[in-house]
């Protein structure tokens, strides 16, 4: 199955800047360890992974009454902190949860990617 792993917020970590140089280094190492753990499992593969610009760089589109409304910022205040994502192929949810323990202590949302018709 494919899973979309959304790095939705920094949670107890505060923010990337709060981490400081050492904390940022540790976080990068955790991402590296996550990549490695996925690579060593024959049934897991990272299909795509990107870090995203912060909420201030986001643009939101909404269609209301047929008109496209373009606004600055993320679609919801809580989405301000979204930092990036992984698209992972894994056998089941428990495997993904287990692997996510390796990542920095972000708030994470996991969603299954729906099968095509």
């Amino acid at each position: 199955m494919k899973y979309f792993v959304l790095l939705a917020g920094f949670g107890e970590l505060g923010s990337w800047d709060d981490l400081g140089p050492e904390g940022q280094e540790a976080a990068m190492q955790a991402h590296g360890a996550f990549d490695e753990a996925c690579a060593t499992r024959p049934d897991v593969e990272i299909l795509s992974a990107e870090a995203l610009g912060d909420g201030a760089t986001a643009t939101t589109l909404r269609t209301r009454g047929g008109d496209l409304i373009i606004t600055d910022g993320p679609f919801a205040e809580v989405a301000e902190q979204i930092g990036g994502y992984y698209l992972v192929d894994a056998p089941d949810l428990d495997t993904v949860i287990e692997l996510c323990r390796i990542l920095p202590a972000y708030d994470i949302e996991i969603r299954p990617v729906l099968d095509g018709p």
């Binding site: 049934d43 056998p91 089941d92 949810l93 495997t95 949860i97 287990e98 299954p112 729906l114 099968d115």
Partner: protein, 430 residues
């Protein structure tokens, strides 16, 4: 065995009921593991039991009833899948964990896979309100309507809740198969919390006219029994099983002939189920102190055991109970535990010592009728009628259960009367 006039019809009916009770969870877990179709397996097994009821009455009970039911249900699932393929529909399959594969072949000879089914139902990725409902439905075979009655929700709400939970399992890829290492212990703790929640829902419901639904609390006890059978070495499961057995053993004495609540102190202890108490006490005797949630459950069970051990309320060792509550409070930091500890301390020492322990609880339990009921009772006993009256009024206002509220109303009336008598006596003196 039966003296009824038509044994040819009653014996098969009894057999179906007994096998439903004993085999539902085992058969369903095997069907789910082999067909990987949670939705179809449940319907098919229900269908097989319905067919058994009709056919066994006519043809007699087969030599291997469980195998008959399994084969019938399995054939039903295969037929459904074939129809889906013909219709061009493709349903998602339940994920089985790679390192774990179900044994195949003869259902009479198959291992017990119910642990995996319980863990699946109680997965933390499912909504809390659905977990125990799903476990009762899939592992014990409790009907959706009965589960709705247990949790005091409309049947349609419960049916929708169960459907949504099964859909999430399939779509999110929640797997069937044992979690490993630290994950297993955390997951078993979660399962125990879930089962205890279901048990208390039947044992002390907060609302409704139905004070105690012992039959449905009994299904939660059965769930704990199954879990203990399949994981005999798990301390949290052993403690949970002992705890619910001890509490459930009081069911017949807990509701009076008038339908009212009978407090522990007034219960006719000859009506407690002493065979069940015996089982629970043996479980506890063999159990070493644990830690974490297992220890919380063990301490709670030991407290229940103190009550179960003595033939009359007067013989209760309140000092021992108060000490257990102190341990439990240190571990759980729960306000409800502190409330119970206050009751025990009031019994072991005096009501004023109990009242002193209630200080500071209003911030945490101010909306809970139990805090006010306990304060009312202890203040009443300490002769502080004004506090007692205000507390019982607050308790009545906050209590959602009709029968319990009536009991609180009676206590309030008693306080008012005592206060009036004391006032008169005071007036006569002055």
């Amino acid at each position: 065995m039966t003296s009824r006039s038509d044994p040819s019809s009653t014996a098969p009916d009894e057999a179906v009921a007994r096998i439903h009770r004993e085999e539902w969870g085992r058969l369903l877990s095997l069907l789910v593991a082999r067909t990987r179709r949670l939705d179809l397996a449940e319907d098919a097994l229900g269908e097989a039991f319905a067919r058994a009821a009709a056919q066994w009455r006519r043809d007699g009970v087969p030599a291997s009833p469980a195998a008959w039911l399994y084969t019938t249900a399995h054939r039903h699932v295969v037929g459904q899948v074939r129809r889906e393929v013909v219709a061009g529909r493709k349903a998602p399959l339940l994920v089985l964990r790679g390192e774990w594969a179900p044994a195949a072949a003869d259902p009479d000879d198959l291992p017990d896979e119910r642990l995996h089914l319980v863990l699946l139902c109680c997965h933390p990725a499912l909504p809390e309100a659905s977990r125990s409902a799903l476990a009762l439905r899939l592992v014990i075979g409790t009907t959706s309507e009965q589960i709705a009655r247990l949790f005091l929700v409309p049947p349609a709400t419960m049916a929708a809740r169960l459907t949504r939970a099964k859909r999430k399992i399939m779509l999110a890829g929640i797997p069937l198969g044992a979690p490993v290492g630290v994950e297993l212990r955390a997951r078993l703790d979660g399962v125990c919390r879930t089962i205890y929640l279901a048990f208390t829902a039947g044992y002390a419901p907060a609302t409704g006219d139905d004070l105690l639904r012992a039959d449905l609390a009994g299904d939660a006890v059965e769930l704990a029994a199954v879990l203990h059978r399949v994981t005999p070495d798990s301390p949290q499961v052993r403690a949970l099983y002992a705890l619910v057995l001890l509490q459930h053993a009081r069911r017949d004495a807990r509701v009076g002939t008038d339908g009212g609540l009978v407090p522990l102190a007034d219960q006719d202890r000859t009506r407690w189920r002493h065979d069940e108490i015996g089982v629970a006490l043996r479980l506890l005797d063999d159990m070493a102190p644990a830690d974490g949630y297992a220890e919380e459950l063990r301490l709670q069970a030991l407290i229940a055991a103190e009550h179960a051990r003595v033939p009359t309320a007067a013989g209760t060792d309140w000092t021992a109970i108060a000490a257990r509550y102190a341990e439990l409070e240190a571990l759980s930091r729960s306000a409800i535990v502190r409330l119970n500890r206050a009751v025990a301390v009031a019994e072991a020492q005096d009501p004023r010592a109990g009242l002193a322990l209630l200080v500071g609880l209003d911030d945490l339990l101010g909306d809970d009728h139990r805090l006010h009921a306990v304060r009312g009772e202890l203040a009443f006993r300490a002769g502080r009628f004004r506090v007692a009256e205000a507390s019982f009024r607050a308790a009545v206002d906050r209590c959602g259960n009709t029968v319990e509220r009536a009991h609180l109303g009676t206590r309030l009336a008693a306080v008012v009367q005592s206060a009036a008598e004391a006032g008169r006596a005071h007036g006569e003196r002055t």
